[in-house]
Amino acid sequence: MDSALATLRLMAAEPSFALAQALTGLASASSLFLVAAGLSIVFGVTRVVNFAHGSFFMVGAYLAVTAIGWLGGGAAGFWGGVVVAVLGVGLLGVLVEVAILRRLYAAPELFQLLATFGVVLVIQDGALFLWGPEDLLGPRAPGLRGAVEIFGQRIPTYDLFLIAVGPVVLVLLWLAFRRTRWGVLVRAATADREMTAALGVDERRLFTGVFALGALLAGLGGALQVPRETANLHMDLNVIAEAFVVVVVGGMGSVVGAYLAALVIGVVHAFGILLFPKLTLVLVFLIMAVVLVIRPAGLLGERGAASRQGAPEAPLRPASARLRWTAAALFAALLALPAVAGGYVLVLAVDVAILALFAASLHLLLGPGGMISFGHAAYFGIGAYGAGLAWKWLAAPMVLGLAVAPLAAGIAGAAFGWLCARASGVYLAMLTLAYAQIAWSVAAQWLAVTGGDNGVLGLWPAPWAASPAAYYYLSLVLCGGGILALRLLVHAPFGQFLRAGRDAPRRAEALGVAVGAQQWLAFIVAGAFAGLAGGLFAYAKGSVFPTYLAIPRSVDGLVMVLLGGVQSLSGPVVGALAYVGLADELARGVALWRLVLGAAIIVLAVAFRRGLAGAVGDAAARP
């Protein structure tokens, strides 16, 4: 606080500084806007949240560096290189749309998110393969290398150029959508796809065009970053989180909203750095959370259509005798596992059990709840930190730690669920993501309490549970019990109400079901069980780290649920087993394993939407 006051005093003594800082913020805002605009347009028209948008941005930067290298120095070489990069990324966009997304427009949002996440993985390894591991520094823009003095402050000319680019692109986009025939058709297809098609418009080509335009803008954003930073392999995920924030704050689909949001975030960030230099990560997500709680559809967004679900499901039936016997036999086999297998198999089995419980808790929200939680790792991590911090600060024994874990995560579920109450569909996904990111930032940056990145170490099981077999039995009992409890809950009235609220919220309300309260309860229950999984995980690994609540862990959970099948209650268990096995094999034996994993996720999202358990169930149901 003292340093913030001192900074304010310095700024008061030098007012021109505030102007310079504002201009810097505006330049960042323009860069942000270029990326966010494409994302917003693609969503507005196709309703696809494109995770791979950051990858297009990264490819744009790499292509620009390479193309400028080929074309030689000078203004022609530089701007020619930018054009080549932009067109190249546009082509890549066409390829992705035709090959993958075209098949997913009718699918639930979740599969679209996942498929585009698969594209992220594939492009990551592709870029590593093509451009190598080293960061590539491109040239600066000819003629825009220097700085001009404004009231004694040096402002880079390239920043001034960027500040101008944002509004120019905004106006061009507005003209393209409002004043051209193509734009009119795109808007018509956005409003009513079938009717537009019936009038003889090839709406497939329109959508491809829109997606290419979005990719083009991302490529432009990336290419124009070349004078400011190196092309590197971390650009994709770094930019996508911020671009999501901008799009969601602005209102999904609204280009003007995206520009406004980019301005707000760019400028707040520039001044935030001055006053609270340690809070840079939290700041943007705090802005997003505040905006969404006040305006659930963002600054200029319209209240979107209700989230799409897949085909209606058959009513739930109690487990058949065959399934019960299979489960009992499986449980018996699992009890006997330590007798036949040792060491690493048990370690893996503990991982599978924990992740199965984690996936099952997420499934409660995704499946019966019909709510996309894109930040489920938050509860997992908060459970792990609950156990870890109870041990670190209170010297709590393991049993107490394992009790604290679900409690802490359940409280977090209550808090986040309450804050998310008004959101649904993609907004809910983004809001849960924001809360997870805030929790992650706290874990990573509150060094005094959490130990920051170095985490909490030395958290090993109590002596009676220390042997691999003992800890395996403990995990088996707690995770198996948790999964069974979740299953019972889904069959109980609570689960039926939840499903009713998902399938027909108004009818459920009319019948006297408090849908909101049931959904809130689902958040608490799912949070608590995810927390229990996190606590067990902490003791299995002997440590707790911020990565436990990072985005990849949330994605892991989603992949496991989808791999197993959203509509099947045994799906999460099957999914966890398949996923841990696959990831373990790949990470040990394959060099470009992200490429393989990404391709597998894409195939899964495009072709096997009912998941493994669903496929097995279909086979079993056939006469």
């Binding site: 340093s3 900074t7 310095l10 700024m11 030098e14 500084f17 800082q21 810097t24 913020g25 330049a27 960042s28 390894d125 590593l128 591991p133 960061d135 590539l136 520094l137 600066r140 700085a147 402050q153 040096r154 880079p156 390239y158 400011r228 930073e229 190196t230 392999l233 971390h234 770094n238 960030h269 520039a270 750095i273 001055l274 230099p277 340690k278 840079t280 990560l281 040792g342 060491g343 690493y344 370690v347 893996l348 991982d351 940056q445 060094l447 920051g452 990145d453 170095n454 985490g455 170490l457 030395g458 690994k541 002997g542 440590s543 780290f545 990565t547 373990d584 990470a587 040990r588 394993w593």
Partner: protein, 396 residues
């Protein structure tokens, strides 16, 4: 009957020979997919060392074999892979890791399961001090040691008002803390007037540079690296932040971070690093020639780390005369060996190696970044005294 006995005896003999010839396996974990710029040269480094050791007859008559795993920059994966290597692959010891938190996680696994762990790259001071234990050793000079090398140079500057910029995680925070403490010990007149803590990999360079300029410091201590560094350098150069302002910068002289900046390398920064082109000691020349012959590429800092890691392990096992963990741990404490940087010792007191770093100034030579006016700073000279180390390190 007799035939059967002879056959049985022969089979036993064959089995013993097979055991004797079975390679010594080293379980190696690193962030191959997460930190490719460092880990690929590093992999080359340990490959070269392993081949050299095996060509010379191996260790204890057995060949060395490295079983490498990618932790994808996730500590929980690293711990799982550690268990896999120890229980499935039957490795004799664990080695490697890049990020500090992953190094600490594997180190804690090693403590719990009593396995030798030779950490190569993670720099956190906690690894050998606050969280140090019997089974963990570390090769590279720690954050404290490198900060001490730079504080020594910084104290010679007339600057009194300092600003710091460092990534906002443990590495950046402990580097700034150590630098502050050591510089103020030497120069009580020094004060720190501004601190910037950009998120790692996400620096908002323009705003950060402006914020530092607002405080009008005499000099700057920089800890940012990787993708953040070129952004900071470009914005700082354009906005005139570095004009008449000395910069002291951690790791910037390492080829991994210096090379991407090419002709835009800032001139005259005081840095730690590795001037591979210019070191002409016989040990280093031999290493560099062998590396170039094998990979048709020049060595990076990571190459040296991977190379010396395997050479240290080979020397430790040879000294122990066995792959028994307790014997290897005893042999590693106080182990001395020759490296491309000169002789080093794994100190018995805290298991920190005395491998040093090169301290010099950055310059642009033939359109590329280079280090000039450098000297080798021997790690042994930049460690606190033994009493301070004992106070920090948990005693058994």
């Amino acid at each position: 009957m007799l035939r059967r006995a002879i056959l049985g005896f022969a089979m036993c003999l064959a089995a013993t020979v097979a055991v004797a010839q079975e390679p010594i396996r080293i379980g190696e974990i690193n962030s191959y997919s997460g930190m490719a710029a460092f880990t690929l040269p590093y992999r080359n480094g340990w490959t070269l060392a392993t081949e050299e050791v095996n060509k010379a007859g191996g260790v204890l008559g057995r060949k060395l074999e490295v079983v490498a795993r990618d932790d994808a920059a996730r500590p929980e994966d690293a711990v799982r892979l550690a268990a896999e290597l120890v229980t499935n692959e039957k490795v004799a010891l664990l080695a490697g890791t890049f990020f500090s938190h992953i190094g600490l996680a594997v180190s804690d696994y090693a403590r719990q399961h009593k396995v030798l762990f030779v950490a190569s790259e993670p720099l956190t001071d906690a690894l050998t001090w606050e969280k140090g234990h019997r089974y963990a050793f570390r090769l590279r000079p720690s954050t404290y040691m490198q900060a001490a090398m730079l504080a020594e140079e910084a104290a010679k500057l007339p600057a009194r008002r300092w600003a710091t910029v460092a990534p906002n995680y443990e590495y950046g925070q402990s580097a700034v803390a150590a630098f502050k403490k050591l510089l103020q010990e030497k120069r009580p007149d020094v004060s720190f007037v501004a601190e910037q803590w950009p998120a790692q990999g996400k620096i908002d360079a323009g705003a950060t540079v402006q914020a530092i300029a607002l405080a009008r410091p005499d000099a700057i201590f920089n800890v940012t690296f990787g993708a953040d560094l070129p952004r900071f350098v470009r914005e700082g150069t354009t906005r005139g932040l570095f004009r008449d302002r000395p910069v002291v910068s951690l790791l910037t002289g390492e080829p991994e971070y210096l090379d991407p900046m090419k002709d835009e390398t800032p001139e005259g920064w005081i840095v730690t690093g590795y001037p591979w082109e210019a070191i002409e000691t016989p040990e280093h020349r031999a290493f560099r020639d062998a590396y170039r012959a094998r990979f048709n590429d020049y060595p990076r800092q990571g190459s040296v780390v991977g190379y010396v890691m395997i050479k240290s392990i080979a020397a430790g096992i040879a000294r122990a005369g066995s792959t028994d963990t307790e014997k290897m741990v005893d042999a590693m404490g106080g182990l001395k060996l020759a490296t491309p940087f000169g002789p080093i010792e794994f100190r018995a007191i805290d298991h920190q190696a005395t491998l040093g770093a090169y301290v010099g100034r950055t310059a642009v030579r033939d359109g590329k970044g280079a280090m000039v006016d450098w000297r080798y700073a021997d790690g042994a000279r930049y460690l606190p005294d033994d009493a301070a180390v004992r106070a920090m390190r948990p005693q058994q």
